[in-house]
Symmetry: C2
Subunit: 233 residues, 2 copies
């Protein structure tokens, strides 16, 4: 192997994304979105060929996306069987929730970003969205607001590794969360989400990241408890 250091072309440092890289990211985010929005519910089977045709690429680059989702625990591929959306066990689910509860407070400890007016407006908007959600509760609408809320919170730290870890474990549990609930519970969870966002919005208005992070932890803990009571831990 060549061990020479590359010491050239430090001129731009612009991090331009290659065409292949952009295409990868778009397909990746689309499929992950479909999983987290329950369009591909846990246990469902995906077809490499069908997805490749849909996105207008061959199986090769598409498989690269599936490998990534597989390494993140969202998919499982078995030769001769197919690619299945991971249906995480209850025990594994609790473990991920335990870790998420510990990661939440780190938002205010590791390179917290100052809360801007845009951030406050963002939480206000999400708060209003959750209000609409109560009037017309749907699993899809809940997931949309829930995911947007996560990203609003995760963007409050400048620590990239922490943000990535939070994202990884959020998406591992995002899809399974609603799957375990009935139609009545969806309505109840929408109200819970509304209360969460009211707390988040108030903490954001006084620009208190520490309060925000611990509210996040508290609500994550409450979600885990409701899940445990529902599934019987």
């Amino acid at each position: 192997m060549d061990k020479s250091q590359s010491k050239k072309s430090r001129d731009t440092e612009k991090k331009v994304e290659s065409a292949a890289g952009r295409r990868f990211r778009q397909i990746y985010e689309e499929i992950r979105s479909r999983i987290s929005l329950l369009e591909y519910p846990p246990g469902s089977r995906l077809s490499e060929e069908a997805l490749a045709d849909e996105f207008g690429v061959s199986r090769t680059p598409l498989r690269r996306v599936l490998f990534r989702l597989q390494s993140e625990g969202l998919l499982e591929s078995v030769q001769g069987v197919g690619t299945i959306v991971t249906d995480i066990s209850n025990d594994d689910l609790y473990q991920v929730y335990q870790l998420r509860m510990e990661l939440a407070p780190l938002l205010a400890r590791l390179s917290p970003l100052p809360i801007t007016d845009e951030t406050i407006a963002q939480f206000e908007d999400l708060y209003h969205q959750s209000e609409e959600l109560i009037k017309k509760p749907t699993a899809h609408g809940y997931c949309v607001v829930n995911i947007a809320t996560f990203h609003a919170l995760a963007n409050l730290t400048a620590n990239a590794p922490l943000r990535k870890a939070m994202e990884l474990h959020f998406y591992q549990t995002a899809s399974i969360w609603l799957k375990s609930l009935g139609e009545d519970d969806v309505s109840q969870e929408c109200r819970n989400l509304h209360h969460e966002l009211r707390d988040f919005y108030h903490a954001a208005r006084i620009r208190d990241v520490d309060a925000l992070s611990h509210l996040w932890r508290a609500h994550t803990s409450a979600s885990a408890t409701r899940l445990r009571q529902k599934l019987g831990g």
Copy 2:
């Protein structure tokens, strides 16, 4: 997409690893080991074809391994250029260390495992290995003991997601750690590692996971501080 649940073949539940899966893991661990042991130092270039020939497979399954290492931040591939071992920036390095410091105490909070006689023997062995290391300090020997120590610590929690997160961020910094140091510093770092292992061994003997986890955090913090002083933060 087929959304039918798979409700069959729950008989064995043995999680037998497929031939492809086993080969993937072996190649993956071998290449990651070479990176973390500085056989492939940061900035060096890897050849897909050469590695494929060495492991007796085609480029396709080998690229799957490189994709995984790429997603974990250990490699970076650019079309027309090659696959380069990631040379993490100082700022990113500090961010990973910050997160590692926060993850360490979770060892005793999230599903800690009881310390067995085998665990104690393991730390005793590592302690003696570090003693030998001082007599004949080498970068390679340091890395071997350092990596083994990490796994001994990480195995003390039954929380798989936490263990995976610790592993990810450890290997992201394992290779870069010694790269920044001169020959004199290697000798000094071997002595530091010896002191760490003395502490770890004593805490293990009294079966105190909490002490162990906070000693780990303390030594990780000290490493980050020495690194900052060396590189100028």
